[in-house]
């Protein structure tokens, strides 16, 4: 069999030799001439509202602001954005990412929601030795066993979400928890971190159930919640997207809030609250990476964003702006967009912009640290303005918001 394999290899080489070798992919000369940012995200499926085309718009805003700031002193005026729709499919993400780096001369890929696609693109970035700022995905594997020299993880992750909500809500008085999570990798991650955070804060998990994913019927768990002993103070749901909507609608149907069982959500975006209406979620707590109406600085940017897109930004939009800005600043400071130089420029850097409060790009695992927020959905009568649905209960300091560097992360590709 081995001989067969060798023969096959020989044939492959022969054919290759006859046809003249691979086309040259990325032209290294372009690297000095212009900067290309590639936004790869979901523009047609489940995450297109919370990120999608508006993230591309946010990156364009970052480029304009960068040019305005440096004027003639800018490292180059030739800065482009390309974008593609990966439809949340890892194989499409794989092909597009390779095309971006090889064919379109992209220097940095931004966004990439959906953990499976995000992890795949990290692999591509490592192989091509080009930069990659993930924003849209939640998996901690990006800064754990799949971490590498060229990949940075922005905005949020499952640990931040679960720890922020689990710890802070427990300290605020929710002692007994019932956790319902979707039966796939994200849900399992969330459940583990959430439970740990609750127990560390002195709370108690009285029950936990893995629900089928996807599901349009959560009533089994909602019926079960009040019968648990001791009765839970709060249901912690790790569902996302349409499953979250299903669960919340049915939570209200069963009137669990009136029965003294509150609701806490693992991952929620502004767009989720918008589609469920604040009335359905009033009083629900969750952890947010950034909120547009937190202070004047955020609001100023959110106003500009709204003028261009017609809606208010989610934290993913703001994070795309911030990541593009930080990348351009690093290129400006280094005077080159050569990847290894930029990585050195970024590692360990303390950064502060309207998204990254008390930010730091941690060298050990490339986790980008910043303040996070414990948020609560307002009562309907408190909502005075469209999209202004939550109040910030507490700022979670950057140092506490994210996990310590994981021993699983062996910074490869260095």
């Amino acid at each position: 069999m081995k001989r067969f394999a060798t023969a096959l290899g020989a044939v492959a080489l022969l054919v290759t030799a006859c046809s003249g070798g691979p086309q040259s992919g990325g032209d290294s000369k372009l690297t000095g001439g212009k900067i290309v940012l590639g936004v790869l995200n979901d523009q047609s499926a489940g995450y297109s509202a919370l990120s999608g085309k508006n993230s591309v718009e946010a990156v364009k805003m970052a480029i304009e602001d960068f040019k305005a700031k440096y004027g003639d002193k800018a490292v180059t005026k030739d800065i482009e954005v390309v974008d593609a729709d990966h439809q949340n499919k890892p194989d499409v993400a794989n092909t597009k990412a390779a095309e971006f780096y090889d064919r379109d001369g992209v220097d940095v890929i931004l966004d990439v929601p959906t953990s499976s696609a995000a992890l795949k693109v990290a692999d591509v970035a490592k192989a091509k030795k080009k930069l990659y700022f993930n924003i849209g995905a939640a998996t901690t594997d990006l800064t754990g066993k799949s971490c590498n020299k060229y990949t940075f993880h922005y905005a949020y992750d499952t640990y931040m979400l679960a720890n922020g909500t689990g710890k802070n809500a427990t300290e605020n008085g929710a002692k007994n928890w019932y956790i319902v999570y979707p039966n796939y990798a994200f849900g399992q991650d969330m459940e583990r971190s959430f439970k740990a955070a609750v127990e560390k804060a002195g709370g108690h998990v009285v029950g936990e159930d893995a629900a089928p994913f996807p599901s349009d019927n959560f009533s089994t768990y909602l019926l079960k919640a009040p019968t648990l002993n001791p009765k839970p103070d709060v249901i912690g749901t790790m569902q996302a997207g349409a499953d979250l909507v299903n669960l919340v609608k049915q939570y209200n149907e069963f009137k669990l809030r009136d029965k003294g069982v509150g609701l806490s959500v693992g991952l929620m975006f502004l767009t989720d609250i918008h589609s469920l209406t604040p009335a359905a979620l009033a009083g629900t707590t969750y952890t947010d990476a950034w909120y547009w109406n937190f202070d004047a600085k955020n609001r100023e940017w959110a106003d500009k964003f709204k003028a261009r897109t017609g809606s208010r930004p989610t934290f993913a939009h703001a994070a795309n702006y911030s990541a593009a800005t930080q990348y351009l600043e690093a290129v400006q400071a280094a005077g080159t967009d050569e990847a290894d130089t930029i990585v050195a420029q970024l590692e360990g850097k303390k950064v502060d912009d309207f998204f990254l409060r008390n930010g730091e790009i941690r060298k050990a695992d490339h986790r980008v640290l910043h303040d996070a927020y414990l948020a609560q959905v307002k009562q309907p009568e408190e909502v005075k303005e469209d999209w202004d649905y939550v109040k910030i209960l507490k700022t979670i300091p950057a140092a506490e918001a994210f996990r310590a560097p994981s021993p699983d992360c062996q910074m490869s590709g260095a």
Partner: protein, 294 residues
């Protein structure tokens, strides 16, 4: 015990949707020999119909309950005349493929117009309370869903057994060759019956709007479970499809509530398909189906 009854009741509510969808699928199949892949997309359109009526015209749930199925019946009849009719002389697979293509188009049209985020739809205030059912209290809306679905199924059963068109449909469903041999003109009922089956899926969609996420893909995975339901019940049997719809609803809820903990989700999800495998081994035509139309 009370909890068990509560969960069972709950399963019947979830089975209501499967039963209504399976009923529509079986009625259409009965007369046209078409398996309507777009049935899940029509269910989705039903929910969106309710949303659009509320959002743009301010019409309440009750109006949607009537208007949306009627509107979708009209759409169904147009689709039948414009597309499906052209292919009925050919292998039924062509209509299966056609309705699959229509599903992709309908989903993307709704996606393009309303986005993939779920659209908000409020619970009708008259049904937002709870009902005391003796042993336990239950959300009024769920009781309403179950009641409506049972009433529709009984109504359709009465229609099928007590009226002439019903007898034609039933005869054509269960003994197609014989019916045609008797010289009964089945043809003129085809378009209205297709519209009727589509309306049932639309009705299920309207019923889903207050309690489930209204989004373009809400019917995409559901339709596959409904396929398993009709294979188990026997597509040729209208009674079988409805009964199995309720049974699967209850069985899934039982699995979620009482199966061994680490297996719950998997069992609940695969149960319809495992049952289908068992039924195929034991009775290939389905529990209530007849061999000759298999």
């Amino acid at each position: 015990m009370t909890n068990f009854l509560e969960q069972t009741f709950n399963g019947l509510v979830s089975g209501s949707f499967l039963a209504l969808l399976a009923l529509g699928l079986a009625v259409i199949f009965g007369l046209l020999r078409v398996v309507n892949f777009a049935h899940g997309a029509i269910y989705m359109l039903g929910a969106f119909g309710a949303y659009v009526l509320a959002d743009e015209l301010g019409l309440p749930f009750w109006a949607a309950l009537l208007a949306v199925p009627v509107g979708l019946a009209a759409l169904g009849m147009v689709l039948e005349r414009a597309f499906i009719h052209r292919l009925t002389k050919l292998d039924p697979l062509y209509n299966f493929l056609l309705t699959f293509g229509l599903t992709l188009i309908l989903q993307d049209l709704v996606k393009a117009r309303y986005g993939v985020q779920s659209s908000p739809y409020a619970m009708p205030s008259a049904l937002s309370g709870s009902v005391d059912l003796g042993l336990f209290e239950f959300p009024a809306y769920r009781v309403f869903v179950l009641g409506t679905s049972i009433a529709i199924c009984v109504g359709v059963w009465a229609l099928l057994t007590r009226t002439r068109v019903g007898m034609v449909v039933r005869a054509a469903t269960e003994r197609p060759e014989l019916t045609r041999a008797f010289g009964i003109n089945v043809g003129r009922w085809i378009t209205p019956v297709f519209g009727f089956g589509v309306a049932l899926a639309g009705l299920a969609g309207v019923l889903a709007a207050p309690m489930r996420a209204v989004n373009p893909l809400m019917g995409a995975d559901l339709i596959i479970v409904v396929f398993a339901v009709v294979v188990i019940g026997g597509l040729g049997s209208i009674f079988g499809s409805v009964a199995v719809g309720f049974v699967i609803g209850v069985a899934q809820v039982w699995a979620e509530a009482y199966a061994p903990e680490s297996w719950r989700a998997l069992i609940a999800q695969t149960l319809p398909f495992v049952l289908m495998a068992v039924v195929l081994l034991w009775r290939p035509a389905g529990l209530f189906g007849r061999e000759e139309i298999a």
